[in-house]
Symmetry: C2
């Protein structure tokens, strides 16, 4: 190596100071980011309202958005899920339901018409941004789906997740939790269905990419964090946390997670698909110019397959059934950035 890095070497004490400064700065960035989310929410709220009114008049808007959704979400949408969306998905609403306190929390509210799969008219999945001393991220409570007889697309996983979540509500001891019959039932169900791809509706059973974190635990961890930061700001020495580290293994908790990666999928829906829904919808319509008559005559659900659609995938556009199969498909247009 032509350069000698030894002049850059830092002592453990220097590193300690450096990491304290870094933590302080990081907390300021987190506050700023929260403020940005709040501002964005306020700026866009009236537009989302306007869009909801517009979309209500557009047939199949959200199923067509899901048809064009990013790969990371599409990977989780099974052929039957596409069928459900095409048949009965009527609305989607994303709200930051505790925007003042924690703007990173959000809810996905799906609205459905009468259908053959479940009796629910709305399914709302709330994601709370919560803290522990080692982690922060989104957690959620499993949502009961009232599946019609023989129609449960998750093979009992959502029901089992709801039951476990109820059963462990007042249990803080991890060993007792793992001894619950509901725990065994859910982990067995997950294990036996590991080879099959879980339905998108398994997302409603999602709990956490780490483990369940209650509002109380989160509030306490946040308070501790803020006390430590206040000390750092005041230039005080941080006291060591003498508590024994509990022998926690978050991997272990994933034994009962029906939908690993559910927080990421939900985040893409909330932060990409929700704000950019008009663009995803429009991507179905291949237009050369924005308001070209020739294109408008072709302004219909596009019948040609996307290049990366897998063969087994259900063609929502065919289900939506706009006809015009005889027409020459409009030429592909480069997707707008």
């Amino acid at each position: 190596m032509p350069h000698d890095h030894s002049e850059h070497e830092q002592t453990p004490e220097q590193l300690e100071v450096q990491f304290e400064q870094l933590s302080l700065l990081e907390s300021k960035f987190e506050d700023a980011e929260a403020e940005v989310i709040r501002k964005a929410d306020a700026i866009k709220a009236p537009l989302y309202k306007e869009r909801t009114e517009f979309v209500a008049k557009v047939p199949h808007f959200w199923s067509l958005v899901f048809e064009q959704c990013p790969q990371e979400v599409e990977n989780f949408i099974q052929p039957t899920d596409s069928e459900v969306f095409a048949e009965c998905l009527e609305s989607l609403e994303v709200t930051r339901f505790e925007v003042d306190d924690q703007p990173r929390s959000f809810s996905l509210k799906f609205g459905f018409s009468e259908n053959e799969w479940f009796s629910d008219k709305t399914l709302e999945k709330k994601f709370w941004y919560r803290h522990t001393k080692d982690w922060d991220g989104l957690v959620s409570e499993p949502v009961k789906i009232n599946w019609k007889k023989g129609k449960d697309l998750t093979g009992g996983l959502t029901d089992a997740a709801v039951k476990l979540h109820e059963a462990r509500k007042n249990i803080t001891d991890r060993k007792k939790e793992m001894a619950l019959p509901e725990y065994k039932d859910l982990s067995n169900k997950i294990e036996t269905s590991a080879d099959a791809s879980v339905s998108f509706f398994g997302l409603f059973a999602f709990v956490s990419g780490y483990r369940w974190v209650s509002a109380e635990e989160s509030a306490e961890a946040r308070k501790k964090d803020q006390e430590q930061l206040a000390k750092l700001k005041a230039g005080e020495k941080i006291e060591e946390d003498d508590e024994e580290d509990e022998d926690e293994d978050p991997q272990d908790y994933q034994e009962t997670e029906v939908f690993p990666g559910g927080d990421e999928v939900a985040t893409i829906i909330a932060e990409d698909m929700w704000p950019n829904a008009l663009g995803y919808y429009k991507a179905h319509f291949e237009m050369d110019g924005e308001f070209d008559d020739e294109d408008l005559s072709e302004l219909d659900v596009d019948m040609d397959e996307d290049e990366d659609d897998s063969a087994e995938e259900v063609d929502i556009r065919a289900l939506v059934g706009k006809g015009k199969k005889g027409e020459e498909p409009p030429s592909k247009k480069q997707r707008k950035a």
Copy 2:
């Protein structure tokens, strides 16, 4: 199909109205998004300044950030690029240089110490968000890198891109442009090097994922767009654009694009790595608790390989040379969300 969708069928006239409303609404969303970027920029500016001061005291901050960067960027970093970063990358600065007019434009400014590869102390790559009637997105001018003799990591691609860009400056005719010797030279170089992975520094040669769009063309397209939107708002009928569509094939322009996907890579740097740099830096240090003494003694450049590091990759952490190889690597910690 149990449900009949025919009640949803829309006439071409209804669709036309629908798409006009959609375009109007979309333009409002674009304005709102621009406002959000401006607000975020203003909120975070003082923090970025504070971070720059902090980072100046942290050895190898940015090379360690690049070491931990998202897969979509990492894919473009070759072993020699990692070596360059570890040896001489001293700073990175992202600025929204025309935030009032077009907040989506940004610049990446890399600072380097004296090194064996090139004589430049800073390399600044500007990305302008521009419009045509069919497309909008980021375009950039190739940046000259003053490679030292025999040290050009791009095998002449950056030089050739700069030369072509200069040569075509006053040419508007595409056929004349394609007849330029500089055009043939660059497209030949790209074709013959197609099998080899291009250096990350090829990013400095990036022009566009579509084609080069000048400030003038963009201003004109934007003006037309706004005139049409104003008419839509006023409820007026949009006039047809009678201009013949020029026989443009953006694919064709990619013959002289040194770094396809460069706009996406730059966007990830600007919108993910830049705001979250402290987190990426911290990800090197595996800590169980934030301020734990035991961890602080291990607070050093982590020597264990990431699971997905490819075998050929240069280990920056080894280049950085913090030693301590004999130590037990700290246990992996779940990455913070």
